[in-house]
């Protein structure tokens, strides 16, 4: 029998607000000591009250709009109770009943639309590190704002699951609501997989694979689950509804033993935070701040940047924003420099944060087009634009200083060619060329280039040589 998979994904996105969701303490714990970004509210001292960060509301509106979602004018918070040392309050403040972000959809590069059920704001939990006979608790992450995005079960392949997660990542980064660092858990995915006989209108029993933090592991975990569940059904057995963990090392999911499978979180309205009521005006103003999204760029650069190059560039909102300011006639060369030079650099992540301005890039493209810079020289000058020591200078000055501007002046070139041809050591090559040995032209061009200290335009040199040696 053939089976048809159905997949729904929950994605947690850490918002990059300056302060935390419920207190005014640093929300950026990158590179900081454990338990150094913790307020008495995060620490759940007695008598402490949450204070809602208005920035997070704005971030949520942008995130929602990025996914074509309705923004609910009225939403509120609830408490979700559980005991664990990562949760000092003994509950998580979340939006169980009335989320801020309503229904919407995400369109994959393939054109497939995945509907969003809703997305809600909540505070993150702390982090535990386990050792043989003790565990360490780091509360830096407590109350970092999260939005949890819940998809409809509209995904039916491992590839689409991968593409959906990646597209979400892009949307959140373009909307500037997260650092989007997957390695550090800025986005985490829980994947619900079930399979049912093809043609059946009923869904199968699902297994949830929790805490995946790369698109590749989402894809592999889904593939693994489809295969595992198919095997179970084919053996006439039943899939157990459970939470499973994924191991990148073994490439397998395993059931997570949990004593109380059906956890009761005893949800309750959060009495310390009044309901959030947003005016349409406020929502619209915030929505208007949403920058261009991947779909906007796809439309804009359709036919101007090849799709495969564009899809690479769409992983980098910084590059797309820059390209957006570049004149259309320079788009090809600049987008090529971005993909083949910048992204190949070891320091590319650093460079992305400090891209040269549009003027410098446009000048560079123009010099290349005018053949003032060879393609090699263009790449070299491009990289020098990132050099802190070259910061104050314009592109032309840098190219000049590096001595990379090509000599295109035919009169000047002729003089150099004549000088080279007058040298006795080129005599033999000249004779050989005249006798039909075509390839020695390369040697002669090389000699001229050497004489010009690399500044001559090699194709122009070749033309002059051919004329002279007729």
């Amino acid at each position: 029998m053939k089976y048809y998979p159905t997949i729904g994904i929950e994605c947690h996105v850490q918002l990059s607000t300056k302060t935390k969701l419920f207190s005014e303490v640093d929300n950026d714990a990158r590179g900081k000591e454990p338990n150094s970004c913790v307020s008495p509210v995060c620490y759940a001292l007695p008598g402490m009250l949450p204070r809602l960060n208005g920035e997070a509301i704005k971030f949520a509106i942008r995130a929602g709009k990025a996914m074509n979602c309705e923004i609910n004018a009225s939403s509120r918070f609830d408490r979700k109770h559980y005991f664990y040392p990562d949760s000092p309050k003994g509950y998580q403040i979340t939006q169980f009943y009335h989320p801020i972000i309503g229904a919407g959809y995400v369109e994959l590069p393939s054109g497939t639309k995945i509907r969003i059920e809703h997305a809600h704001l909540e505070g993150d939990a702390g982090k535990l590190t386990h050792f043989d006979n003790y565990s360490l608790v780091d509360l830096n992450r407590v109350d970092t704002p999260l939005i949890e995005i819940v998809s409809m079960p509209d995904i039916h392949s491992a590839k689409d699951a991968h593409d959906y997660c990646k597209e979400l990542w892009r949307l959140m980064r373009f909307a500037k609501v997260t650092y989007g660092d997957l390695y550090n858990g800025n986005m985490r995915f829980d994947v619900n997989v079930s399979i049912a006989p093809e043609g059946s209108d009923k869904l199968g029993t699902r297994a949830e694979v929790k805490n995946l933090n790369s698109f590749r592991s989402v894809e592999r975990a889904v593939e693994y689950e489809i295969a595992r569940q198919t095997k179970i059904l084919e053996a006439g057995e039943k899939v157990v509804q459970e939470t499973r963990g994924w191991s990148d090392a073994t490439g397998k999911t395993t059931g997570q033993r949990s004593k109380e499978e059906a956890k009761d979180y005893r949800y309750m309205p959060e009495p310390d935070i009044p309901p959030i009521n947003l005016s349409r005006q406020f929502i619209n103003d915030e929505a208007a701040k949403l920058p261009m999204m991947p779909s906007d760029y796809r439309e804009k650069f359709n036919g101007k940047i090849p799709t495969d190059i564009l899809e690479i560039l769409l992983d980098y909102p910084e590059l797309m924003e820059k390209l957006n300011g570049i004149d259309e006639k320079h788009i090809t060369i600049i987008s090529n420099l971005f993909t083949s030079v910048l992204l190949a650099e070891e320091k590319s992540a650093e460079y992305l944060n400090d891209l040269p301005d549009v003027k410098k890039l446009s000048d560079l493209a123009e010099m290349n087009e005018k053949k003032e810079l060879s393609s090699t020289a263009t790449k070299e000058v491009f990289l020098r634009l990132f050099d802190p020591q070259m910061k104050g200078r314009d592109t032309k000055a840098i190219a000049k200083e590096l001595g990379l501007i090509q000599e295109n002046d035919l009169g000047a070139l002729e003089a150099i060619v004549d000088a080279v041809l007058a040298k006795p050591e080129t005599k033999k090559a000249q004779d050989d060329f005249r006798n039909g040995e075509e390839k020695v032209i390369g040697f002669l061009v090389g000699q001229v280039m050497k004489e010009s200290k690399g500044k001559a335009n090699p194709s122009a040199v070749q033309q002059i040589l051919r004329d002279k040696l007729k």
């Binding site: 008495p40 620490y43 759940a44 001292l45 007695p46 008598g47 402490m48 009250l49 949450p50 204070r51 809602l52 408490r79 109770h81 005991f83 040392p85 000092p88 309050k89 003994g90 509950y91 608790v137 009761d264 005893r266 949800y267 309750m268 309205p269 009495p271 310390d272 935070i273 009044p274």
Partner: protein, 456 residues
């Protein structure tokens, strides 16, 4: 209220208060006496007065705080074993405001652990005795604060009122006790009992003192999102015309002397020209049931943070995390705490939420509406505070329902968020104080305090 000036020093006021506190030690009023700290502060204030500097409206006035208010002086225990050893790095907003006006904290007062109770008998430190009869309860949960003011140890004391915890002990000890409008005074820095009904208020000897304290402590606090925009000082104090009495509270379950006191007062008011309006408030009889669902739900949630991991008491010899939680909470909470935790968890459990919590929330909405309707017919309402005057120690300890019934006439105000003032109105034949409760619409606190002078 006596404040320090050129003739009486703050040091003298504080010394006198500390001496009295020691004299009445057997009443078990204080969980901590701030002797050193208070004298040091008094000296500072005296020096400022001597230098002719401006001192606040409460310069040198000794006061006490209920032990669920956070401040770095002594341990903040909420009279609960599980908070033993906890010293707060933070001061509650309201305490900060009082201290900024020169008031001097002389001690922390006893309460039912986590404010769960109506007699202060549920304290880890034992009961506080009634100011008028040492064989009787102080009332609760703010029993220590009420007795501290009644015995004239301090000029005023703070309390918290979730269902009657200021008003009932005030009436049991013959002092004024105000539960302000919900959100009038910041809850920041007070150990939470039930967030949606907790109100911070005071015990005083006069309405004038109450007004002064409210003018200082009330106001919006950025640290408490549920505080209302400043209204206390701005609110209009109109002389009321119509006073309501609730028919439903006039029955045999209420002590005859309390009913008689209410009757006497309404007659006096009539003579002074007020119109007495009889009110039908049929939904109030559901208030206690709704209260004992909503409040335990919030209690169980707010008490989740006491897990022995970060501060306070931690049980020894726990082999794993689960045992640490179980042992710490089993040993650290009092029986009444546990009772409310269990009720709260029950009413929030999936499958029961709609039947209990949601239904109680709907009843609460009806109660809010019933008060709104009542205040269309009258300006203020006059009721008993509780069905009885102070009862004997131990009398109700083993009967939680009887204890809960103590709150019958006080809890509806907390559900509705309206202010209530407990006003002393004389003594019973046995010499015990009697109190009546004045209820007003939301934000009428100032007018309510002003009107209470008519009941003297």
């Amino acid at each position: 209220m006596k404040t320090a000036n050129k003739t009486i020093t703050a040091t003298e006021l504080v010394k006198e208060a500390l001496e009295k506190a020691k004299k009445y030690e057997e009443y078990n009023i204080f969980t901590f006496l701030n002797e050193e700290g208070a004298l040091k502060k008094a000296k500072e204030i005296d020096e400022r007065i001597a230098r002719g500097e401006k001192v606040g409206k409460l310069a040198g006035v000794p006061f006490a705080i209920k032990d669920n208010y956070l401040s770095p002086e002594g341990e903040t225990t909420a009279s609960a074993h599980i908070l033993e050893g906890f010293t707060s790095p933070i001061t509650a907003t309201s305490v900060e405001k009082l201290e900024a006006e020169g008031a001097i904290l002389i001690g922390r007062t006893n309460l039912d652990a986590f404010a769960h109770g109506s007699s202060t008998e549920n304290s880890y430190f034992g009961p506080t005795l009634n100011a008028y009869d040492k064989e009787r309860v102080a009332g609760g949960s703010s029993g220590g604060s009420a007795v501290a003011v009644a015995l004239d140890i301090v000029e005023f004391a703070t309390g918290s009122d979730t269902g009657g915890s200021i008003r009932q002990p005030a009436s049991f000890n013959g002092v004024y006790g105000l539960k302000p409008t919900y959100g009038a005074v910041s809850r920041y820095g007070v150990v939470a009992m039930a967030s949606s009904t907790d109100c911070m208020g005071f015990f005083t000897k006069t309405p004038e003192d109450m007004d002064l304290l409210m003018s200082i402590a009330a106001g919006q606090d950025p640290k408490d999102m549920t505080t209302l925009p400043d209204f206390y000082e701005k609110s209009e104090v109109k002389k009321p015309k119509k006073i309501g009495v609730v028919k439903d509270f006039d029955n045999d379950s209420v002590n005859a002397e309390i009913r008689a006191a209410l009757k006497t007062k309404t007659e006096e008011l009539k003579k002074k020209g007020y119109e007495i309006v009889e009110l039908d408030m049929p939904t109030l009889k559901y208030a206690l049931a709704a209260y004992y669902i909503i409040v335990p739900a919030e209690v169980t949630s707010n008490l989740s943070r006491y897990d022995g991991v970060r501060y306070g008491f931690r049980s020894d010899n726990s082999k794993d995390l689960e045992a640490l939680y179980e042992n710490t909470r089993s040993e650290g909470f009092m029986p009444e705490n546990k009772r409310r935790i269990m009720i709260g968890n029950f009413v929030l459990s999936s499958g029961f939420y709609d039947a209990y919590f949601l239904k109680a929330a709907k009843a609460r909405t009806l109660i809010v509406k019933e008060y709104e309707e009542a205040f269309k017919k009258c300006d203020f309402i006059l009721t008993p505070v509780s069905p009885n005057y102070a009862f004997k120690l131990g009398e109700k300890v083993n009967d939680p329902i009887a204890m809960y019934l103590e709150d019958l006439m006080s809890v509806s105000l907390n559900l509705a968020g309206v202010p209530g003032l407990s006003v002393p109105v004389g003594k019973a034949k046995n010499g015990l104080p009697l109190g009546l409760q004045l209820v007003g619409p939301r934000r009428s606190d100032k007018a309510l305090i002003e009107f209470s002078k008519e009941l003297k």
